[in-house]
């Protein structure tokens, strides 16, 4: 009898465990007057809540943010949840081809009407639509608009009597002076993986922005002359000892910049938040758009936008779509950009941070063409693979390594573009 009891108990425990497994994890839920939002940036959570309060006044729906700390895990969570009914109402994602990859599966809600309304209100630059579209339809709203700039340490510039460069020669001259003073001019690392594309993208876009756009769209080859020339310039800068070691920790970058061990840091304006959080002020640092390599090159600036999208199977899809219709409302954006210390995608929204203000002023003056960041500008698997090749090049930036590196990148480009077109 005891044996039978034990067996029944064991079976009951097993059943409970199995049912617990079967219930899985839920990412959706929440009260119907609150929209759930999933993201991978813990530092945005407070900003989501602040913007959510403003949105609630406009739409009646607040925001309940969740966060997945690892970007890799987050991408898997979103990919799998889009196919089920466990998606959150809103998801943070990336623009360009990363968005297209999701949109073409039919997993995202169409936001054409909301985009049109935002354009009519002058809340967004209509020219940026391709970054948030697939097959002519809009599927996401921009979270912010980060310009890629060179942050520079003002104290080093002042100590060495340098001025903000407006030509490539001045830019390189400044770097040489800084190097001669025993300070590392440029931050560059492959330690975080993705950071390997930064200098390649910056140099190529300032050498030949039209080619950059063509290369990103698969209309040009990595083995073409402009790409080779960009790599040669990068190799020259390495030869002159301008960069940090390629394995320096990405997380150390703000401290190295603040302490004056590194004078210049190429990064999106989203990095501004951490500099200000660390106590740096406009007396300590500034930012400029990297000069073109030759005067006759069209001015350009690399732009990056995180996005919000609505899963097609979101529990509160209609409310989420309506909320994104108000996302670019200046009332919401002022609170939002004030929290994240970056630039709004709504050109009407004024920024208080002096560093960001100086960037927008430079952009307004030079009217550069806006290029998509390398990370979002081509199919994700192509970018992820080529970033690895660029990382390898950073470790061996010799002239001899340029050809093989570009050859491998081109071979991958051909494979991945073929796969992309096929799918």
């Amino acid at each position: 009898m005891n044996r039978r009891k034990s067996a029944v108990t064991a079976a009951a425990i097993a059943a409970v465990m199995l049912s617990a497994c079967a219930s899985g994890s839920e990412t959706s839920g929440g009260a119907s007057d609150t929209l759930t939002l999933n993201g991978d940036r813990a530092d945005f959570v407070e900003a989501y809540k602040a913007a959510g309060e403003e949105l609630e006044e406009l739409t009646g729906y607040g925001i309940d943010p969740r966060n997945v700390p690892s970007t890799e895990s987050y991408q898997q969570v979103i990919r799998s949840s889009l196919q089920s009914d466990s998606a959150t109402d809103l998801v943070k994602w990336w623009s360009g081809y990363r968005l297209k990859e999701l949109a073409r599966t039919g997993g995202l809600a169409n936001l054409d009407a909301e985009w049109e309304a935002a354009v009519e209100n002058d809340w967004v630059n209509p020219d940026t639509a391709p970054s948030f579209s697939y097959d002519g339809h809009v599927y996401a709203m921009p979270m912010y608009k980060s310009y890629w700039v060179i942050f520079y340490n003002k104290k080093i510039y002042e100590d060495l009597g340098l001025s903000v460069p407006t030509t490539w020669e001045q830019f390189i001259g400044n770097a040489q002076t800084i190097k001669d003073a025993g300070i590392t001019p440029f931050f560059g690392t492959q330690e975080a993986g993705w950071t390997a594309f930064i200098w390649f993208g910056e140099i190529l876009s300032k050498l030949n922005p039209e080619f950059y756009a063509d290369l990103m769209n698969g209309d040009a080859k990595y083995t073409d002359e402009p790409a080779r020339r960009a790599m040669e310039i990068w190799s020259d800068l390495y030869e002159r000892g301008f960069f940090t070691s390629p394995d320096v920790a990405w997380d150390d970058e703000p401290a190295l910049f603040q302490s004056g061990e590194v004078a210049m840091v190429p990064m999106g304006t989203w990095r501004n938040a951490i500099f200000t959080d660390n106590g740096m002020t406009e007396q300590d640092y500034g930012a400029f758009v990297m000069p073109t390599i030759k005067p006759d090159v069209t001015p350009s600036v690399i732009v990056e936008s995180g996005v919000f999208a609505v899963p097609e199977k979101a529990p509160n899809k209609e409310a989420a779509v309506e909320t994104l219709g108000e996302w670019l409302n200046p009332d919401v954006q002022e609170v939002w950009v004030d929290e994240i210390n970056d630039i709004s995608a709504n050109p009407q929204v004024e920024i208080e941070n002096p560093i960001l203000t100086s960037v927008t002023e430079q952009v307004q003056q030079s009217e550069p063409i806006e290029l998509e960041r390398y990370w979002e500008a081509s199919p994700p698997s192509l970018v992820a693979g080529n970033v690895k090749d660029l990382a390898t090049f950073m470790v061996d930036p010799s002239k001899e390594n340029i050809g093989p590196t570009l050859q491998r990148m081109q071979e991958r480009a051909e494979q991945e573009w073929a796969k992309w077109e096929q799918e």
Partner: protein, 324 residues
């Protein structure tokens, strides 16, 4: 048989038979519906005990493995429907230079983390067990085992990066010529990561060898000493043979750990620069979770699982004492 032949010695079976066993005839087997019911009930009871374990192993191990094998035969990006492609993923892997590099690195890791933690563990265990070394020396080697692989990665990253502690110390002592880009060139990066993992993993070897050493009967050692053995000879001839069972376990653990090492590599180099320091476990993670090529990642997982299981099985089969 001649008349002078003495009576054969009773067989072992006869000698060990319980007294009075022959007096008790075997109980005749019960027949009939009731007996069958009893037998069935007994079997059901046994099954109920085994079922939870079977269910756990099945659900948590076998079903996912079966699904992984199926997924390795598909092309799947995590969003679009999976497409059956047969053995294409395996063909792709076999032809990929990166996969070969990953395999080579896995072999280096296996050899390195097999030799170093086992030999060092044995050495430290013997030295701290027999000689008058203070206890804290043992703790100093054992404690890192309590640290997670992630923390190990962070600590060694701080030490091994080009601007890290190791190069700074070398510089401070005027040994600039010895400064290296430890994590950037192959095979240097793999070797230093093996050393980092050894630092962490040697603790369990020490503990197991210490347990083994303390079970070695003192009489055998004393007998050996009386016969004139001492020092290394005493250890090799008398002590080490008695550590065989522990050595089998330590080597087995080291093989399995080395084949699936991931955290230290991911934190120190992410398998880079490029793909230079990837092992199969890192390749599997990157293909699946970074590149979203689930089919290819699953194929790597299957290859890795087959290698781990076969190596462990062959090793244990050879080393474990045979029954009967």
């Amino acid at each position: 048989m001649g008349a002078g032949v003495t009576e054969p010695a009773p067989s072992t079976a006869v000698r060990t038979r319980a007294p009075g066993a022959e007096a008790t005839p075997p109980r005749p087997r019960a027949h009939g519906p009731r007996a069958r019911r009893d037998a069935l009930t007994a079997r059901a009871g046994i099954a109920m005990y085994i079922l939870p374990a079977l269910a756990l192993v099945g659900i948590l191990l076998l079903v996912p493995f079966g699904y992984t094998v199926y997924q390795s035969l598909t092309e799947y990006d995590g969003i679009s429907p999976a497409e059956f492609v047969g053995f294409d993923n395996y063909v792709t892997l076999l032809g990929a230079e990166r996969f070969h590099r990953s395999l080579i690195n896995t072999v280096i890791w296996t050899v390195g983390t097999l030799l170093l933690p086992v030999l060092l563990g044995l050495l430290i265990a013997v030295l701290t067990n027999a000689s008058g070394w203070p206890v804290w020396v043992r703790y100093a080697f054992v404690l890192p085992y309590a640290i997670s692989g992630t923390a190990t990665g962070v600590i060694w990253g701080f030490m091994l990066r080009s601007d890290g502690a190791v190069n700074q110390v070398l510089g401070a002592f005027g040994l600039d010529s010895l400064q290296q880009e430890w994590l950037l060139s192959w095979p240097m990066n793999t070797i230093v990561m093996i050393l980092a993992e050894t630092w962490r993993a040697v603790g369990i070897s020490i503990i197991l060898f210490l347990v083994g050493l303390q079970t070695v009967p003192r009489e055998t050692v004393e007998a050996g000493m009386l016969d004139g053995a001492s020092g290394f000879r005493l250890f090799r001839r008398i002590v080490f043979p008695q550590l065989r069972a522990v050595t089998v376990v330590v080597v087995g653990i080291s093989i399995a750990n080395s084949l699936r090492v991931f955290d230290v590599i991911w934190l120190l180099t992410q398998g880079g620069p490029g793909w230079l320091s990837e092992t199969l476990a890192v390749t599997m993670y990157r293909q699946t979770f970074v590149l979203s090529e689930y089919g290819l990642g699953s194929a790597v997982a299957v290859v890795l699982a087959v290698i781990v299981v076969s190596v462990s099985w062959i090793y244990l089969r050879q080393q474990m004492p045979k029954r009967g």
